[in-house]
Symmetry: C2
Subunit: 294 residues, 2 copies
Amino acid sequence: MPELNIIDTTNKLPFLSDAGLSPTFSVMAMDEYGTLQEKHIAGERPLTIYVNKKEIVTLMTLGTQPEALVLGYLRNQGFISKIDEIKSVQVDWETESAAIVTHSSYDWDDKLSQRTVTSGCGQGTVFGNMMEQLDDISIQKFNAKQSTLYALLANISKENEVYKRAGGVHGCALCENDEQLIFVEDVGRHNAVDTISGLMWLNNISGIDKTFYTTGRLTSEMVIKVAQMNISVLLSRSGITQMGLSIAQQLEITLIARAKGKHFLIFNGADNITLDVPPPLNRSHKTSANIKQS
Amino acid sequence: MPELNIIDTTNKLPFLSDAGLSPTFSVMAMDEYGTLQEKHIAGERPLTIYVNKKEIVTLMTLGTQPEALVLGYLRNQGFISKIDEIKSVQVDWETESAAIVTHSSYDWDDKLSQRTVTSGCGQGTVFGNMMEQLDDISIQKFNAKQSTLYALLANISKENEVYKRAGGVHGCALCENDEQLIFVEDVGRHNAVDTISGLMWLNNISGIDKTFYTTGRLTSEMVIKVAQMNISVLLSRSGITQMGLSIAQQLEITLIARAKGKHFLIFNGADNITLDVPPPLNRSHKTSANIKQS
């Protein structure tokens, strides 16, 4: 681990390195005609998180906003509950590591070791912890209009830059009314949502009255992570799983899947959506749209 | 943990419970017209793996073939190297657990505790272990024909039952020439590939001369897992990441992405593919197909 230069302790925001990577690489690929073509592919790098020199986890990431990713990961996992407890986040791609230093090392060492031992580690996340935290979550509902959702979907379709260039990534957006406040792409949905959480922490943005959009599927972990950010409306271009739905029902989160163009399916919280602009009836289009994307 | 009934110790295959779940659930959703529709969604259940009563990991799974999933997970993580070391796998959905008993408990207890402590846990997998194992992998190359790949893609498009019904899952297939030997869907790509590995173990199927197909992206973990199964041709309907490519180059795995209909892009090992039936030239179709799916 390199020595850290602690600069910012006055305004209570942590010192952050600025180690964002370029998201795509250019490579050659041969197509079905035997022609070599230049193609862009998404980057993917391991990043091992150390809190006060203790190894926590290795994330595979696109690497564009590693400091925010690390902050959001620690927040969403429930390891650290206030950003002013963190002194610095220093990402170093040569050692593929993110070194986090907290102000009160004594407390966190104890907390982290406990977490790691009891939870076991899941394919996808440290799952045990997150389920326990569900009981503490209370989310403030808000009503959204169909017209606002349509305007939002139209705005979002302009983004997805890495996806359009290289594929291989998922996009997530934090939205207010029909505007995107933050848009993040990463090789894993979980990293994109964690990075948004980190950016919300750094910029003191609350999840109340916000809508969360993702290109990815709404599995249990995605719903839990968004709930932890106090966001009550969750919009996905893809499908949902039974456990994602079940957690949304438990926490009264509005869950909308298959959202693309003028189409969507509200799986939970239909009362919170005002259908003010139903599109012209076209049943054949509607039915085929339901089974397109995962 | 329930008491186990050990039946099969003579032919060296473990005793397995038969706890497969139905993959989809029927729920009601409201569409953009305010109409309630019956929709099918993919199941998702937590399954905590215990080896000799020691907790290893919690996987989120569709749950259709949990015993094979557990076996493949233990195999692909390098925890257990021979199937005849396993006495039984008993899955119980009431306790959401899979209890594995090994013949020589003494050895495995030691091995597992070592692994768990040193590796840390990754979002997606226990990553540390898997990278270390790369050096031991030597994969036997084989040559595949374009015509065989096309016939295989046509056969595969008939499958994906859960995906077609409910979305929210990824499919993986183990293939020999143009035939699928095994097709598995799960909420995570990693689970589908682990389940195939478990089924290969149980049925004594080698990966040599096989092709692996997945609907999902070829990230580092997917390439590593397929390499561990000694499979040298990897075919994906989706994209690849830079690290997936880099590992394929290191291990000389043939990596083909964006494979759909008559289109594909060979990112590594083009020498191993004989282009015997190039499709009629249609450049506009070709270009647009490159950016469709992630």
